[in-house]
């Protein structure tokens, strides 16, 4: 892939960053990425990012967990070996259901929580030994960085970003990936 040019505007305050994002958006420039040291409330809305669907996946994983619990307990306790254990009625699932509820609950939570976390890791491409994609180490401490793709309009973009209060504006070559 050929190298493309991006502009890095660095800010030192999240309020300044927010107003800069709004300005850049209103000028119809595409923001590639924003790096912040902590969550900035409302940034996703200002950037126009789509809301996350991870809660929906968690709900579905929970249903999977509930199904696993029911099928497992039904097979083990009712179908496979319906023993009389302390007089508990193992004749049908519903008759002995209260005893299975703690397991049904825990497996629902277990599946919902763990599979959602794994989904989050996969979707945000996070794993051990993953190479950090950090354009500037200061963005993990106290600086905010906005990355905008350059399509031959460097000067215009530079002056716009300078107006928004950027403390540093760099044009860098970026390996597309």
């Amino acid at each position: 892939m050929e190298a493309s040019k991006v502009i890095h505007a660095i800010y030192t305050d999240d309020d300044v960053l927010m107003s800069a994002v709004k300005k850049v958006k209103s000028e119809k420039h595409h923001i590639e990425e924003i790096y912040t040291p902590f969550p900035v409330h409302g940034l996703d809305k200002a950037m126009g990012l789509e809301p996350t669907r991870i809660a929906i996946t968690a709900f579905m994983y929970g249903l999977v967990g509930l199904t696993v619990a029911i099928v497992m307990m039904n097979f083990i306790m009712i179908k496979d070996w319906p023993q009389n254990i302390g007089g508990k009625p193992s004749f049908s699932y519903i008759e002995n259901m209260p005893a299975f509820v703690p397991i049904m609950f825990e497996l629902t939570v277990f599946f919902a929580a763990h599979l959602m976390v794994i989904t989050f890791y996969l979707r945000s491409r996070m794993w051990p030994f993953k190479k950090a994609e950090n354009p500037d180490p200061r963005t993990t401490d106290d600086h905010f960085l906005m990355e905008i793709a350059v399509h031959g309009n460097e000067n215009e973009l530079q002056s716009l970003l300078a107006e928004t209060g950027a403390v540093e504006i760099n044009i860098v070559d970026k390996e597309a990936h």
Binding site: G87, P98, A99, V101
Partner: protein, 456 residues
């Protein structure tokens, strides 16, 4: 300032009138003579296919001992004398159940509306004690709802005492000296379960709750025009103190007013269980009244974010209620100790639909309807779910009282619906009258601004 619309006032008065007619009808038709009950039972035996037989075996209902005798007689000796005796006891038992029905219907509805006000008061105290930043714009709505606490709680206590003085022990058999004389278990509990103690404790509970309600309301209104924050500090202090008082008295109230209808039965988490029911009902009514007032344009400072928070509480407390309901049921079901499991056996045999139906209404429905964050911001959606939750918690109280008083002779008919209408009308009248007494926004409360700008 809110003005009580004439339409709503007329509506509430119509409800009260219809309710009184229904309750009156219930009391008029509940006095059956021995012969009438006898023919009724014969009639049922011919048509219902052994219903009478079933009823004589029921362990629920008032004189458990009489029933136990009947049971023994039916199985033990079939000679004419024993059979006749058992028949007489059976008829008397059913007669008593029929006579109990309007009392129990009235009591369930009275308690249900009282507990909405009490749950709301506890929520209000928690909001002040925790210095919540989102809820102050709803304080006046909560104060309006808790205005029903004084009349509501006094009515509940009066019905309970009347059932043991002018009534024929229609709610609490431990008030009947004749039953106590033949019942070792109740005799052992008579140190707590006696009418004088019951009345004194009831008065103390009500006095404590109403005193907090009175002063917190007074401080809240005084803070509107105060120069400093001293009234806020005072109401903070009494809220913290009230919450301590409340959790003790609420627990004892649940033993006295509800658990003692089954004086042979006891459960340790019962107080919490009743609390969960009243808390979620109270929060639901806050949501419903706020939505109503907002739709009439009285709460322009309340937005969908506040609704979202209230709906989250409805959702969470519905699950909390289910957790306690299931914990109580499952522990008793699992160990199956005869002395406590009869409570659920009578409910399971005679009350299958309300007993299991309320779990659907109070758990399955809210969890599916209120899980989505977007749905919690839609007023009509919260209203529909709220009505289902309220109905579910009425059934919850119904399930607590009815099996012990009317046994398998339950039905949701004119006495029950009449009682609901009566207290619903009274509740609407008292609450909306109280809402007209003060501006709907707390002016001087320190967190007012934060609450007005609240967004989630």
């Amino acid at each position: 300032m809110y003005t009580f619309s004439n339409k709503l006032k007329t509506f509430s008065i119509i409800l009260v009138v219809l309710g009184i007619l229904g309750v009156g009808y219930g009391f008029m038709t509940s006095h059956k003579s021995f012969e009438e009950v006898e023919t009724l039972l014969e009639h049922e035996e011919h048509h219902g296919g052994g219903h009478g037989e079933e009823a004589s075996h029921a362990t629920s209902g008032h004189d458990t001992h009489a029933v136990a005798d009947t049971h023994g007689n039916n199985h033990g000796n079939n000679d004419a004398h024993g059979g006749e005796d058992a028949h007489k006891k059976h008829v008397e038992h059913v007669m008593h159940q029929i006579a109990n029905r309007p009392w129990a219907a009235l009591y369930v509805a009275a308690f249900f509306f009282m507990m909405i006000a009490l749950g709301c008061l506890a929520f209000y105290a928690i909001q002040i004690a925790s210095q919540a930043g989102w809820s102050p714009v709803l304080f006046r709505v909560m104060e309006g709802i808790t205005a029903y606490l004084l009349p509501g709680a006094v009515i509940v206590l009066l019905i309970a005492i009347a059932s043991g003085t002018i009534g024929h022990y229609n709610l609490f058999i431990w008030m009947d000296p004749d039953v106590v004389a033949h019942d070792k278990l109740i005799q052992g509990k008579s140190g707590w379960l006696n009418l004088t103690g019951f009345a004194i404790r009831g008065v103390i509970f009500i006095a404590g709750w109403v005193a907090y309600r009175h002063f917190s309301r007074k401080f809240s209104i005084a803070q509107d025009t105060a120069e400093d924050k001293s009234y806020f500090k005072k109401s903070f202090r009494i809220s913290a103190a009230f919450l301590v008082f409340f959790i003790y008295t609420e627990s004892m109230m649940s033993w006295d007013w509800i658990m003692s209808v089954d004086p042979h039965w006891f459960s340790t988490l019962f107080g919490w269980y009743v609390f969960a029911s009243m808390f979620v009902s109270g929060i639901t009514v806050i949501a419903l009244i706020s939505i109503y007032l907002k739709s009439r344009g009285y709460l322009e400072f309340v937005n969908e974010n506040h609704l979202h928070d209230v709906a989250k509480f409805m959702f969470a407390m519905s699950i909390f209620w289910t957790y306690l309901w299931f914990s109580q049921f499952m522990l008793i079901w699992y160990s199956n100790i005869p002395e406590e499991v009869t409570y659920f056996i009578s409910r399971f045999n005679d009350y299958k639909l309300p007993f299991l139906g309320m779990v659907v209404l109070n758990f399955v429905f809210p969890i599916l309807m209120l899980m989505n964050a977007d749905y919690k911001r839609i007023p009509w959606f919260v209203v529909m779910t709220g009505l289902v939750i309220l109905f579910g918690h009425y059934i919850d109280i119904f399930n607590m009282i009815m099996p012990a008083t009317v046994g398998d002779r339950w039905f949701i008919g004119i006495p029950e619906i009449g009682s609901i209408l009566l207290f619903a009308g009274l509740f609407i009248f008292v609450v909306f009258t109280a809402l007209t007494k003060a501006p709907l926004l707390v002016k001087g409360y320190p967190f007012r601004k934060e609450s007005e700008d609240f967004h989630y």
